[in-house]
């Protein structure tokens, strides 16, 4: 009851160890060790060689294609500081209490509150009656991304707005290997905050960054999933790689 894992939508990728000795071992911790070796100590934009190396590592570890560029569009950076965001209104007259699937959800995520304004793409659903499980998952696992800093944004606002709406991404805490598949659900944070992206209360919890200052360094990449097969939610490493 404590880990977000709704049915029919996000079933986390399970660990498939080749050797019995690895059964039950947290393979995400092994990935974390490799990421720590490959990443610069300073949280900065990665160079193309670093990006290529990481993409290869992550795609093989998670079993799906992650990339920095789709349709010629890329972000200003893929290694940055994530900060905790509030819940978002999902439909008109939504309220914070309605976001909880159970009372533990409220205990864990209720204190984050709900943002007074709407996300960059408005409500997730035009009404409560039309609200679906897909809409619910998108708000639950949403990211605020600095879409406005993506190269080419100013010249192609409409195209970029449509491209980024609910774009699927993989976010990883390189210190622990904790990872989540989420969607772009809002634009932000502002540059002056010193943060480079934001995560919903559930995203921050999965990344192990829900406590204390509610921020920390993460890697974040597009997932190339044209058929929408990768479920949202926590994701674990596959060891067949």
């Amino acid at each position: 009851m404590t880990v977000p894992n709704p049915i029919a939508l996000p079933i986390p990728q399970t660990i498939h160890a080749k050797d019995d000795i690895l059964v039950g071992f947290d393979e995400n911790a092994v990935l974390a060790k490799k990421l720590q070796e490959d990443l610069p100590e300073e949280v900065r934009p990665l160079n193309s060689a670093e990006e290529a190396n990481l993409l290869k590592t992550l795609s093989s570890n998670f079993g799906f294609e992650v990339t920095t560029v789709i349709e010629g569009i890329k972000l200003n950076r893929n290694f940055g500081i994530i900060g905790g965001e509030q819940h978002l209104y999902r439909y008109p007259r939504d309220n914070l209490y309605a976001h909880a699937e159970n009372t533990v959800d409220w205990a864990k995520y209720g204190s984050a509150g709900i943002a007074p304004g709407l996300g960059a793409w408005g409500y997730f659903s035009p009404s409560k009656q039309e609200f679906t499980d897909i809409d619910k998952m998108r708000e639950k696992y949403y990211l605020a991304i600095q879409t406005f800093l993506a190269p080419g944004f100013a010249e192609n606002v409409a195209k970029y707005r449509d491209f980024f709406k609910y774009r699927k991404m993989l976010v990883i805490n390189p210190k622990t290997g904790q990872a989540v598949v989420a969607v772009v659900g809002d634009a932000g944070p502002a540059e002056w905050t010193g943060k480079h992206l934001g995560g919903s209360p559930e995203v921050m919890d999965i990344l192990g960054l829900a406590g204390g200052p509610r921020k920390g360094p993460v890697l974040y990449f597009f997932i190339d999933d044209p058929d929408d097969k990768i479920p949202l939610g926590p994701v674990k490493v596959r060891s067949e790689s």
Partner: protein
């Protein structure tokens, strides 16, 4: 984790009342774990009491696999008005919980 009966129970009223109580984060988590667990086991008891032994095993297997489609197919096939029964069971327990919270606030 979304339970197979999530669409039938209304926890919003409980959450609203909990929010009015002066609880620490640890107390909130502990109390809500108890509430969710009580609801879950009361509903499972209500379901299991309506099933034959052989069907209980099938149900528990579907529950373990978290396969909501198979759970509902089985329950609708084996128990009349199962949704109403689960809803009534949950509503009764939630009413009791409201009474308990009221008492706690009066102390």
């Amino acid at each position: 984790m979304k339970q197979f009966y999530a669409h039938l129970i209304e926890i919003e009223s409980i959450v609203v009342e909990l929010d009015k109580m002066n609880l620490s984060d640890a107390q909130k988590l502990h109390l809500t774990s108890l509430i969710d667990s009580s609801l879950h086991h009361t509903i499972l008891d209500a379901v299991l009491s309506q099933l034959e032994d052989s069907d209980k095993k099938v149900f528990l297997n579907h529950l373990r696999e978290d396969d909501h489609g198979k759970i509902w197919q089985l329950l609708n096939e084996k128990i009349d008005n199962i949704e109403d029964k689960i809803k009534k069971t949950a509503d009764n327990l939630i009413k009791e919980m409201h009474k308990d919270m009221k008492k706690a606030k009066e102390k």
